[in-house]
Symmetry: C2
Subunit: 137 residues, 2 copies
């Protein structure tokens, strides 16, 4: 097979990390299908995720490994790791408790662009936990 055919049609897991050594990782609720968050992993984060069964990401802001929930307790138990055709993006199917976003919502995607607007958002969810409490701010 040609190189791209091997990547697209093959069964070897060859995640493609970008110039910063990162790959996109989308966390999706395995039960409801809700997209919870979009983050990044480096090789070490991916290895830890596979080894431990709990999602570990690489925080670009803090430039360090970040086990999801290490501070808040809202961990992600990984049920399945999917990869896309060109192997540069992961979807993690995860089992979670209530409250995955640090702002207090179940998902980080709690706002949507208003119909017929290109500027104004609307909330599409309600907070499910007190994030100030969880993060001891």
């Amino acid at each position: 097979m040609a190189a791209d055919k091997t990547i697209e049609e093959g069964l070897e897991f060859t995640p493609k990390f970008n110039d910063n050594g990162l790959i996109r990782a989308i966390a999706q609720d395995a039960r409801t299908g809700q997209v919870l968050m979009a983050a990044y992993m480096n090789q070490a984060a991916l290895d830890l995720t596979v080894q431990t069964g709990y999602a570990t990401y690489f925080s670009r802001a803090r430039q360090k490994l970040w086990k999801k929930g290490e501070e808040s307790g809202h961990v992600q138990k990984v049920e399945q790791i999917l990869i896309d055709c060109d192997q540069d993006c992961l979807v993690l199917k995860v089992s979670v408790d209530a409250g995955q976003c640090h702002v207090g919502y179940q998902s980080c995607f709690y706002r949507a662009l208003k119909k017929d607007s290109s500027k104004e958002l609307e909330f599409i969810a309600e907070k499910v936990y007190n994030s100030k409490e969880a993060y001891k701010k």
Copy 2:
């Protein structure tokens, strides 16, 4: 509100593009919740998506705007555009026909890491259309 509070809790749509002028955009089937693909948009792609109601991305490989389905016919009608807490990732809830991935599957995420393996994938879907036909290869 502090700047990050405005971004996280405000209702102004202020998508944060990266150093290359791109923002991540995840397409999710509005009906089934399946994650279909993960791509990027620049400002022009986002504007066109909002204006036309059909998903337009920016192709990094071809360095140009790319209306999803312009060649294959498998377009994405945008039902809702969600943005995450720090406004650097979009989720597009889309209505689609059968066959969104150019390889021939409904979703680009048609393989998963095998249980207890860190190297081997398995197919988790079957092809739904003849991509060679659609793309006139």
